[in-house]
Subunit: 296 residues, 2 copies
């Protein structure tokens, strides 16, 4: 089993879109440039979603155009539909992320369409992406529980993961959007999904709402998963649980991986500095315990 783990840094997108405080464009650019120096190979830079839905990322174009792009780093941007995809391509994006969910109710609440319509939108994007040689990463939200409909069947997650892969996504990130999962569920979910798509194409995206994210990641590693989404300083939040913590903190993930002897290519000290930078900008105490513990 490979000892290399790919970390996907989602803070500039999934982190900042869930922070109440607005961050100026120039700060976002400086932040992403700091992340680019850490050794990360994937940094989700922003989204091209309507500012009506996500005002925090209304400056997606300016951010994407403004960052210093490192050759060895991929900078996917999240796109909700063909229009967002076209804007992303026009801004120079070479990789996009798309999202759907196995939860009908989550889909209706979050994207105002059915799961089927959502998959149709993704098909339009992947079709256009092929012509433009754009790589597409797929997200599935609320895979371990939904804030609206409760339980989610692992089989429905597996089915959707297979569809997204067939449509052309190169990797499927399984998101526990409300951070409700525990190891037993995670293990079973991965076993079920891995019957439909190869483990190397599965990523995990865990929120730390109940403090379980790192343990769930450990279980995913045991299950052969080698791609982990995380967010420096744990920035972000859970829009369905006010005051709850956000994405799992990249520093805590990296500390774990270093201890387990995995290779990531990422420098913990530099990651800590980037996390400190954005926490200061957001005027909040760092949510990463690693960050809170080191001398500054």
């Amino acid at each position: 089993m490979s000892k290399f783990i790919k970390l996907v840094e989602v803070s500039p997108r999934d982190g900042l879109q869930n922070e109440a405080k607005r961050v100026p464009t120039a700060i976002k650019i400086e932040f992403i440039n700091l992340l680019s120096q850490t050794g990360l190979s994937v940094i989700e830079a922003t989204s091209f979603v309507s500012p009506r839905w996500i005002p925090q990322l209304a400056d997606g174009e300016a951010v994407f155009r403004g960052i210093d792009k490192i050759h060895s780093v991929a900078y996917p941007v999240l796109v909700p539909n063909r229009m967002g995809f076209d804007r992303a391509v026009a801004a120079g994006a070479t990789e996009v992320s798309v999202f759907t969910t196995p939860s009908e109710q989550f889909s209706q609440h979050n994207t105002h369409c059915s799961v089927e319509e959502s998959v149709q939108r993704i098909a339009e994007i992947t079709s256009a992406a092929k012509k433009n040689k754009i790589r597409v990463r797929g997200y599935l939200s609320s895979v371990l529980g939904c804030p609206y409909q409760g339980k989610i069947s692992p089989q429905s997650v597996a089915k959707l993961a297979e569809i997204l892969l067939t449509l052309g996504c190169y990797e499927i990130s399984l998101g526990d959007t409300i951070g409700i999962g525990t190891p037993k569920q995670v293990k079973y979910l991965i076993e079920v999904v891995a019957k439909k798509i190869p483990r190397r194409k599965i990523a995990v995206h865990f929120h730390d709402t109940y403090g379980q994210a790192l343990t769930n990641i450990y279980v995913a590693l045991e299950q052969g998963i080698r791609v982990i989404d995380s967010s420096v300083a744990g920035i972000g939040g859970c829009p369905y649980a006010k005051g709850a913590s956000g994405n799992v903190a990249s520093e805590e993930v990296l500390y774990l991986l270093n201890g387990l002897g995995y290779k990531t290519g990422v420098d913990l000290e530099k990651l800590i500095l980037a996390g400190k930078f954005i926490s200061d900008c957001l005027q909040q105490k760092p949510r990463s315990k690693v960050l809170g513990s080191v001398k500054q």
Copy 2:
């Protein structure tokens, strides 16, 4: 393998002794009384250490005498030496905790004596305890790394655990005092210690300095450990890392255990209320993410 996990609640002692803010005696009593209603079977109530060393717990006698003791709950108190033991017995304690460490330098810094002298003090206590029919629980500090001397050999931990058991301790709690450990180390440590003492007599006591505690607990569970020390609302701290988080939060541990299908007898809602009570008294945001996420 047993599906019952014994939770040892250490917040009134290990939690409060590391909090800068002093808590009035009456509040401590109310807090322990709340904990007694949660279904916990062990609550470490206070310590009988010189107030010169731990002023936060100078009111140990008053606290211990003041609490409503539930028949099904054990209330050990920490004692550093024979004098502390005698005070504990005089106050009515039927169970005490003792501590030492495999780290010579930690022993010198923390208790101003060598490890050997420290073991001698424990022998005096266990000897007196036998005559008084007092149960003794043993702590080993800094088992996964020491703030002064760095690495600690698992073999030295195992040797000391065996000595404490032979002296009469009924259980040995392995403490990662600076919260530096990761799963690989935890797994190896338990394997080594379990060669010397039975797994059912090993407890784990993890601090969350780098956010690794819950994952380390998960690994300990996989290794057959069935006793876990924790602290509601994650209260406490690491005296060697300023601003660092404290003990692993009981609520996060219980959330994990419930998800894994273990039985504990502890009511999560009542635990959350006790954690909220003490966080409010300490005027701090709860460090347990479970506590931060539920409706209040």
